[in-house]
């Protein structure tokens, strides 16, 4: 059976690595973009089932990437998990743009739970 595709967009290598481990463990095939612009380019290439995206990134930030794809067909078939280190972020602004918001430091058990649930819905 073909694996589900996941994309991680985060400018911090360690965080990307952690998400890669958790996603692979949950059975996803993972690709990583280290900035928003690369992230947008990756999204054009294949139908990702899940997007894990950081907000504060140099250049194109997470909100800008999400706004860009908001009305595109890619968005409809993809689950978006926003992961932010900004604890004072008002989450209402993200409601339209994403499916789930987690604050760093992310609890891996919570993350795994979310990934498993998405997989169950999709498969």
């Amino acid at each position: 059976m073909e694996k589900l595709q996941a994309l991680v967009v985060d400018d911090n290598w360690y965080n990307c690595n952690i998400f890669r481990i958790a996603l692979e463990k949950a059975g996803y095939e993972v690709e990583i973009a280290y900035n928003g612009r690369d992230g947008l380019a990756f999204l054009e290439t294949k139908p990702y089932k899940i997007l894990v995206i950081d907000l504060q990134m140099p250049g194109l930030n997470g909100i800008e990437v999400l706004t860009e794809i908001k009305d595109s067909p890619i968005r409809k078939k993809m689950y978006i998990l926003v992961v932010t280190a900004n604890a004072y972020m008002a989450t209402e602004d993200l409601e339209d743009l994403s499916d789930m918001v987690m604050f760093k430091p992310v609890n891996i058990a919570d993350l795994t739970f979310f990934l498993e649930r998405v997989k169950r819905i999709v498969l």
Partner: protein, 557 residues
């Protein structure tokens, strides 16, 4: 010869000729028949004006003018007595003018004597009426002593002389002193029309009263009042001059209300009329001028004040913007710091989780335990960061009130269910007591109440090795509710209680050394309670335990 001395000499001669000529004219035209009484002696006014403008150095010109003007006393039949009498009258004339100016400048206003009521009255009473006693006395006496007038008429001559001189001063001095500066030309067509019409009205009334002989002199008064208030001192002095001119003309020609069989009676009536008109107009114009000056000063003060208020407002605006910008940058800094702290912590806690969950292969129990230690310490670090940022957030004034109605018991039950996890690994029981007094539903800022209770219960757990933590919820007053967290922990001394809520202080002694924290928890709690309009009290006994009571306003639903 110095130019100034030459100027003075020229001035004196010019004044002397003017004085002499006007003296002759006054005696020709100002005389009320059948006698020789002069209704208005213009030279006394000219003398006063000259001395007012040029100073006492022109007094010799007055003397000379008077002496020449009275040449009929010693010419063509020269007598030493006539010469002496003319000299005496000349000296009297120059003394009179000098005294008048001296009194006005001493007791009135130096530069603008007709712009203040007080100064106007000084001018009338002292410069005109008092000063003119001088030559009236000297001159009439010299005439009688010199044999030029019978002693029986001494009193009449004295009175005529006095009032004639005074009339000359009061009519001419204001006119010349005011009109030395011409009025500002007006572009206001209406004003010019008003000026023309009011002077036409004066002429008409004058003609009817003093040519036609129909006694409506009193109609001058309303016209003059109008002129004074519309055209100020220029209008007033010119108006008085016109009115006086008509009155004198009428008296001289035997027309008008002031004509009586007895010359002295006519003269007194005429002078009383001129005096009244003059006094009224000058006083009114001075009062109006004072009012205008005061209004102008007030407007200027207001303007200055307004300007200052605007400046101060601008200063405040700048200060406010600076403060707001500082507050904004502080908030931005807090958010940034939060981000910077959490990013590496995410890696530390994330890798700990991954290892602990065996995602990268099985771990020995020893390894799992050590990774647990890494995670515990990272979590504690996270707690410290949260506290520090919370305090910074509160200090930046960024708290907002988010109130909602909750079912009291449901809210606290759920909240305390979560709090129970804090007691893990300790022999502690958490009990909840609801007093009957607490309403079934209350309006609260749920997230802040939650943070306060988690802080207080966390604190109680921290300082209670084993025992019971009781949470009481109730309302003692109609407009206040409370919750109290009671523990059976190590307690505190009265000394410690005092500094408990102070920022960054922790009770440091042998019993608490092993317990960790930033010392910010209670400070945050207190700030939150105060933000909600409540108070927090603590009672504590060493070794027995502590009670933290939070009183909050009970808001209508």
């Amino acid at each position: 010869m110095k130019p100034s001395l030459l100027n003075t000499i020229i001035l004196n001669f010019a004044l002397a000729s003017m004085y002499a000529v006007s003296s002759i004219i006054s005696q020709q035209f100002g005389v009320i028949p059948p006698g020789n009484a002069t209704a208005i002696f213009a030279p006394s006014g000219i003398a006063f004006v000259a001395i007012f403008f040029f100073g006492y150095k022109v007094a010799p010109g007055v003397f000379l003018g008077s002496f020449i003007g009275n040449n009929n006393l010693y010419l063509p039949n020269f007598t030493l007595i006539g010469f002496g009498v003319a000299l005496a009258i000349g000296i009297g004339a120059s003394m009179e003018g000098s005294l008048g100016v001296y009194l006005l400048k001493k007791f009135g206003t130096r530069e603008h004597p007709f712009e203040q009521v007080r100064s106007v009255w000084v001018f009338i009473l002292l410069s005109a009426l008092t000063s003119c006693l001088v030559n009236a006395t000297i001159g009439s006496s010299a005439l009688v002593i010199g044999g030029f007038a019978p002693p029986a008429l001494h009193g009449d001559i004295w009175l005529t002389w006095w009032l004639g001189d005074a009339a000359g001063v009061v009519i001419l001095a204001p006119l010349f002193i005011i009109w030395r500066h011409l009025p500002k030309p007006s572009n206001d067509g209406l004003l010019v029309l008003e000026a023309v019409l009011s002077f036409i009205a004066l002429m008409a009334i004058g003609t009817i009263a003093f040519v036609g002989g129909f006694p409506i002199e009193y109609l001058f008064i309303p016209i003059l009042v109008f002129i004074v208030l519309r055209f100020g001192l220029h209008g007033a002095t010119l108006g008085i001059f016109l009115v006086a001119g008509f009155a004198i003309w009428g008296a001289v020609n035997g027309n008008g209300a002031f004509v009586r069989a007895d010359v002295n009676d006519s003269l007194l009536l005429l002078q009383a009329f001129i005096g009244t008109v003059m006094f009224t107009a000058l006083t009114l114009s001075a009062a109006d001028k004072e009012r205008q000056t005061a209004t102008k000063a007030l407007a200027e003060t207001n303007h200055t004040l307004e300007k200052r208020v605007i400046e101060r407002t601008q200063d405040l605006e700048i200060a406010k913007n600076e403060a707001e910008s500082a507050s904004r940058s502080k908030t931005l800094f807090i958010a940034q710091m939060s981000h910077e702290f959490r990013t590496p912590l995410n890696a530390v806690i994330g890798y700990s989780d991954i290892l602990q969950m065996g995602m990268l292969g099985d771990m020995t129990p020893d390894q799992t335990e050590r990774i647990g230690f890494i995670k515990q310490n990272a979590s504690r670090l996270l707690g410290l960061i949260n506290d520090t940022l919370d305090i910074a957030q509160i200090e930046a004034g960024k708290l907002t009130l988010t109130e909602s109605r909750v079912n009291t018991q449901y809210f606290f039950d759920e909240l305390l269910q979560g709090v129970k996890s804090l007691t893990a690994k300790k022999q502690i029981t958490i009990k909840t007591v609801y007093h009957q007094t607490i309403p079934e539903r209350i309006l609260i800022d749920a997230p802040k109440i939650q943070q306060i209770i988690v802080n207080l219960v966390g604190n109680a757990v921290k300082f209670t090795p084993e025992g019971v933590i009781t949470i009481e919820i109730g309302a003692n007053m109609p407009n206040e509710w409370f919750f109290a967290v009671r523990d059976t922990g190590i307690g505190m001394s009265a000394e410690s209680v005092k500094q408990l809520f102070e920022q960054y202080t922790r009770i440091a002694d042998a019993t608490t050394k092993s317990i960790e924290g930033t010392g910010l928890g209670l400070s945050i709690t207190k700030r939150l309670v105060e933000f909600l309009g409540g108070t927090v009290d603590v009672q504590s006994v060493l070794v027995q335990g502590s009670v933290f009571t939070v009183n909050l306003p009970l808001k209508p639903l």
